[in-house]
Amino acid sequence: MENNIYIPDLARITRIETVTPLEKIFDISFIEKEAQKKFNFLPGQFVELTVFGVGEAPFSITSNPNNKDKFQLCIRAVGSVSKAIHALKEGARVGIRGPFGKGTFPYKEAKGHNVLAIAGGLGLAPLMSFLTYVMDFRDQYKNLMIIYGAVNPTNILYKNEIAYWNSRDDVSVCVTVDNPDDKWTGEIGVCTKLIPRVDFKPDDTYTIVCGPPVMYKYVVVELEKKNFKEDKIFLSLERRMECGVGKCNHCHIGDKLACVDGPVFRLWDVRNLKEAI
């Protein structure tokens, strides 16, 4: 049996959904049943996806970990690999390595507590693996609040899920946009603006954050104003990754690696990592 960590398993794109002008959601299943069976991921982990002949890039898994027959990636066409993925059709074959990352969202630790999710832009996608998991075991968590900021109404991701959350009385959702259109009746401005309104008890709340690099600093400042605890705030950090397995070193943050030690870090750890946020 091959034990080369750089060999991907073959998988097939089974469904493609265009969700915004920039992003598509891809359903992916492994071709070999064995590979599908052994692919068990945790909320916050990522995969390395190969488009044969083009290259490999890391993507956070955005689907529910309880769904065992496929997984989902939400991909923005912005780099060479992601653009090549967008050009693929349903049925296309890709290579998958992973799941990777020891740093995951606190899906166990947060049980019995409030959960606050803060997402900026495409940052909502990595949080989806955690949020769908929480929804599966909704009674095991206390209050759930989701704050999501998008650039404009057309760029809002996961509109169906947001509508579903809105329809439930055990989830509160606040969506805000930077640039509203004529029809927009919701919040306007960056997502940090909504944090002061959160009325969860700091000691009893787990916060998960994902967004563009510039966002974290401002979110953290707002959370600290409310006395949220450093060891109960989790940030999913993005870096350039070439290998996903702690060898190529591109994703180093201070003395740690985003691919192995992250990609989700506790704020307490981030404080001790230079230039993390």
Binding site: I7, G53, G55, V78, R240, G246, K247, D255, K274
Partner: protein
Amino acid sequence: MLYKVIKKVDYKEFVSKLISDFEFIGPVKKDIATHDFVRINDFSKLDINYKRTTIAPAKKILFPSTEVLIQYEIGEDIKISSVYEAKEKILFGIDACDVNGLSFLDRFFSEDLIDEPYFSRRRKLTVIGIDRMPSKTNFSLSMGKEYAKDGFDLFLTDLKDRYFVRVGSEKGNGLLSKYAITSAAGDEDFKDYNKFMDTYRKSFKLKADVANLYDNFEQVYDDAQFWKKIAKDCYSCGSCCLVCPTCFCFNVKDDMELNLKKGNKIREWDSCMIPEYGLVAGSHNFRPTKENRLKQRYRCKIKTFADRFGSNSCVGCGRCIEACLAKINIAEDINSVKKEVSV
């Protein structure tokens, strides 16, 4: 450890036999200033008395600048396979800090997950080290890497009329039994060996004060002025990484043949000093300035692995000092950290 002695007259015979029976790689003079580790077919080409360092590090034998990680063929099915090298090789004439450099890479590429492309070569490599007097830029004594206690199969120390041989593995011992006339080392041999090692350790001119560096480095890390000064002349060329025996960063690329049926996933050396290193899709660069990059390189060399492995990745070979076009000197910069925190 087994200790043996091989007479100088028998040494030539021993090495010549190794050259004829194996793919033998050793230091060869390339031009007036540089040596390189290359394949040797003739004993006369071997030059272990290289005064400076071999500018290319020995790591290239195990971790080539470009290599195929996997190859694939796209048809009805997609066939993916590994490409491993199968040849037994001997790497001869690397010094103690380079042996320590290889040991670092051995540990790095086996930590957590085994990097099979690296270890497919490592398992088939016999390492024969040799003590040499330090070059001008070698500060391995300061880094605690001037002596190799393992990571080799045989390690030779020149005692004028004979070599003192430390036998590091069964494989090394097997080579001696098959190809060399040796005797067990006696008190006289140990006495001369100790004398050599004393002289050797006293010959290091360049020193780096690493006491308290672990904490002091963090202390100066956010001092923008300090790092501006240190990185002032850096060209972001990446030479320091290319010559480093412990730099391991690489890029992974797909490379398709013209028929679009066969392709390779290859890796090639990368350098954290190059601006594109921290660039992600969408044009955000996590290390936009040369100060960002230089201090991160230093972190990786003199801090990160003190945490992860209990000892720094920098072995103090001094290659980066020789290779740097801007005359950036890591040993002096380590001393600058100390100076900065003392004022």
